[in-house]
Symmetry: C2
Subunit: 333 residues, 2 copies
Amino acid sequence: MTEKSRKSNVIFRPHFKTHQSLKVGQWFRDEGINKIAVSSFSMAQFFAGDGWNDIMVAFPFNPREIDVLNRLSDKINVSILLAGNETLPLLTRKLKNTVDFYVKIDVGSKRAGYQTDSVIQIEKLLDMADMNNNLNFRGFVAHAGHFYNLKSVSQIRKEYKKYVKNLQTLKNYFTRRYPDIIISWGDTPSCTVLDKFEDVDEIRPGNFVYYDFMQLKAGICKPGDIAITVAAPVVAKYADRHEIIIYCGAIHLSKDYVIVDKKPVWGMVLSYTKDGWQFPKKPAYVKRVYQEHGIISMEHNDFFSVNVGDLAAIIPVHSCLTVSNLKNNCHFI
Amino acid sequence: MTEKSRKSNVIFRPHFKTHQSLKVGQWFRDEGINKIAVSSFSMAQFFAGDGWNDIMVAFPFNPREIDVLNRLSDKINVSILLAGNETLPLLTRKLKNTVDFYVKIDVGSKRAGYQTDSVIQIEKLLDMADMNNNLNFRGFVAHAGHFYNLKSVSQIRKEYKKYVKNLQTLKNYFTRRYPDIIISWGDTPSCTVLDKFEDVDEIRPGNFVYYDFMQLKAGICKPGDIAITVAAPVVAKYADRHEIIIYCGAIHLSKDYVIVDKKPVWGMVLSYTKDGWQFPKKPAYVKRVYQEHGIISMEHNDFFSVNVGDLAAIIPVHSCLTVSNLKNNCHFI
């Protein structure tokens, strides 16, 4: 991803919420990366404590966090996202340091942000922000969250072109007033399948650092690209129904699922060998999850090769959520 | 629940995984409760540190936790669950203290445990356990997890009678060999709707301490019984689609949902007033959740009464999962 961003001459600002790990962060630093994105002020504080000093909190600014923003911007360059103009009066009253901000644009996921054609509303926000010398407008941020649901790589390429064109129009319009603004683009699917990042200035993929079963299922990554499994202790097995009970449920994997053969699955099951984990010829899945229990259904032969006390390797459906859970409830091994 | 258990002359061993709070635990202690259930050894350690000394780890014993079991049973009375005989050789080799155990019985949820008619297999387990003087067989544990999906109170009563009768048969058979064994029964739905606990010796409900939207929706509790809301900061609102964005997503509420008007919802939205929270006349719901974002859809009038910076009160779908998430990611207020 670093190489690709250099070839395209875009800033690479990886999203660290997927891994939340100082060690993995260090690997990025070793690649020359010095700007990151996170999804909360607590994550920003965590990474600031390890020397990161250019951090975007990529979530609509929560006015209840003005104090932590002031404390953090004493020390490092924090940038925030504005997804509306409602927080500007408070920022104007209470902001103590200079802070960069980006305007959040909704590129089809219908989550947060302005539409690309909401020029008048965006202008109103910028007029209000310009009254505050501490607020520096840096550009537009987009995250195509709905790309996770697109069915093919060609569909992702097509949608990317469409939305980036709209962002370009917006940027061009505002460049007259703010010459240095950029377009920052997120999401792992498009950053993975595109070979070149035309017409954006920055990319912020996060999930690609581990990928997961959702990305595998959507054809975004290959099995060999996946860099995460959850080590799930096998606590019981039932031969009559060929089911294995693991100590690995919703509080570990999360309740995100994908559909396989018309049924929901909460993880893909591999086995650990002395050479690492191994994809079985016939895949097995976590077919039910409760708070702490997970239930794996297995073919006859595979079932008898698993013992109570073993660790099963589970590829989670959504690695970001699983890491967020595990960081609090478990040990990384 | 304490009163009801006393009237029925059953032991009340509340499940503490729902609240995971020393303070709420203290309220139980004030009621004279001295036995509890938890779902992990780390929770057992947490409550043992606060003086609880009769704790059931109500999850099939994970052989990888033999060391923590030995450490904890040095200090307090820990009881474990066996959902198969596979862990007995390890327990026999490594157990250092006397430990009570219960045999887990599957009463229809098809999760973990023996069937009530698996007498020969249970006998085999007990024969193996009897070879170890440190293992005391105390009885049978059942959790009717599938009662959460039953459609009516009368259905719950009927199913309860059926399964308890089977458990009684099992207990009677083994009482000849183990005169003091008990039947321990879990699940909030049946413990809530039954007025009297006939033919069981112990109850272990947990969720009833807060209840949640799932229990409300299933008719198990009334709005006034609910004792939990998540205080969700409003970070953006979009008048064109009448949607409100809250800083409250899957890492807070979890991804458990229930179906309302044929659509999934991840929480019920109330408002905070100076007198506490208030149920609106026309309910609003969290209709989408992402990792950190939640999206609320609101009627015209209610929409304009909510401001960015407000807190919305969200009744979670499944309070146990929400508390588990919040304990790690947020502050309790």
